[in-house]
Symmetry: C2
Subunit: 303 residues, 2 copies
């Protein structure tokens, strides 16, 4: 994709060590920026805001470039790149974190290139709410800001997180996190409580069971495409968010109907991402393949 | 509903002791027959095949009668009625069985009244495969036989269970059971393996995440209606199956389209059932209430 950056993604860039019951891979490209940008790249011009160390391999840069991801916002500094090491259980769903080495990510200050500040769509990937607020202070008037978060920030940075939530148009989080954030157990009550905090949309993610969108216009049940094999579920939530925002940016409209359709695209792209390790699924993927699976998924929802 | 019995339900009738984090109820009407017949009763004439002891309360019989359930197949014998005692965890999903007292159920021989043997629809609730086969030997030529099963029978009675599966038109079971039965982990592979065992349809249930239907015509993702409160999840799978078969019997057609719609009715009725203890939700429910929630659920699936 060429032209101005339409979607800015801020988050982590990582070199992950991933072990599944079937395979072990070391130093593979990961992080929320990588998955979200790759997923969005099929639909729109996406710019990455993140930080890597001087160990970051040329091959990873080439992966981004082949996908057409704009890298003006990617900082490269001395030191080692952020690394997550984890092991998936037999169910290929539950996982155990072995190590999180922040490395250069520890002193990350997400500064947006001038060319990104007018972008109409912004994804605040899962980084500290303080950094998310710092990003928000740099953008002009985005049409839709999506913020992702996680249990850690709910526990250790609730006040700045609440400020992010108040400023975001959509919050995405998983069901466990939604319960932590709101103190409610029931998912509908969680969603209603979050809408009361500011965003017009909340997406509660349920992993392989899909997600639900709740807005003032009601509920949309977002199905997960039932894949016939999973190699690496890492980054599925980021691919979902990136695919969603990419599809929304492509369409240009931001209303309930457009949001629903774009969320289906996100679900489809995420389902493709988990079928291979790291970003491998995305490397030979074309938009037509996504469209085919979208039609298939729609057929699975047809009464 | 009056007229001939269109749907026969065979299974357990129980007086359950149920404890949730919020409430404890003793001796409430339960068992697969109770939930499935109640759910089906809104759509069609349903007949119950089960066994109760002489402790079975008159109030429970009245509950069935008010719902219009035909009781010609309900045996009453000396002794105590089957009882399940269980405790739900804080999530209102996971549960622990405290006791299973078979009582009169231990010597249950499901004999169908003559008036049931021509019924076009048959639900073989979760009883031993040997008893399910005994029922199958008594029916003439049902249009659709649905068999439900559970982990216990997969472990202790695999051979007769395989015979039931081969004779059934649809097998319903949960995701864990599907994995046990087939040795596959992936849900699509589980479903394909089960279709290879004989049934034309398999429904894999995922509790509060809904279910999926797999047939030769593809996959249908059956969403669960997101309820805003759950009082007692007991029997949800039975209500789902009963509501499905009731709706199918009412429509009269048995094809992919009709099956999909009827499964949505099953999902809706099950979502209503869990909002109160035992069969309480069904006692003041009318078909119009079901239709309203069905329309709401369809709206939640609309792209």
């Amino acid at each position: 994709m060429s032209g101005n950056v339409q979607l800015v993604v801020v988050g982590s860039v990582a070199l992950d060590d991933i072990e599944t019951p079937f395979e072990r891979r070391e130093g593979v490209l990961g992080g929320s920026v990588s998955y979200a940008c790759a997923a969005a790249s099929f639909f729109t011009k996406v710019g990455a805001v993140g930080i890597v160390g001087d160990d970051f391999p040329a091959g990873a840069i080439e992966t981004y470039e082949r996908l057409g991801v704009d890298l003006a916002g990617l900082q490269r500094v001395p030191g080692r790149t952020f690394k997550w090491s984890g092991v998936y259980e037999d169910d290929m769903i539950n996982r155990r974190t072995l190590a999180t080495e922040l490395n250069v990510f520890e002193h990350f200050s997400p500064d947006l290139p001038e060319s990104y500040r007018d972008a109409p769509f912004l994804l605040l990937g899962n980084i500290s709410p303080e950094l998310q607020l710092h990003v928000l202070s740099q953008v002009k008037s985005p049409r839709l800001v999506v913020a992702d978060t996680m249990d850690l920030w709910i526990n250790v940075a609730r006040d700045p997180l609440m400020e992010v939530v108040a400023k975001a148009d959509m919050l995405t989080l998983n069901d466990v996190e939604a319960r932590m954030l709101t103190g409610e157990h029931n998912i509908r009550k969680c969603a209603d409580a979050i809408l009361g905090m500011g965003p017009g949309y909340v997406v509660i993610k349920k992993g392989e069971h899909g997600a639900i969108l709740v807005s003032g216009e009601g509920i949309f049940i977002i199905p997960a495409y039932p894949v016939d094999s999973v190699e690496d579920p890492t980054g599925a939530g980021d691919s979902f968010a990136g695919g969603f925002l990419g599809a929304l940016a492509r369409g240009g409209e931001v209303d309930e109907k457009a949001v629903r359709l774009a969320l289906l695209y996100g679900s489809v792209v995420a389902s493709m991402g988990v079928q291979k390790f790291s970003l491998e699924s995305f490397q030979n993927l074309r938009l037509a393949g996504i469209e085919n699976r979208l039609e298939e998924l729609k057929g699975m929802m047809r009464v």
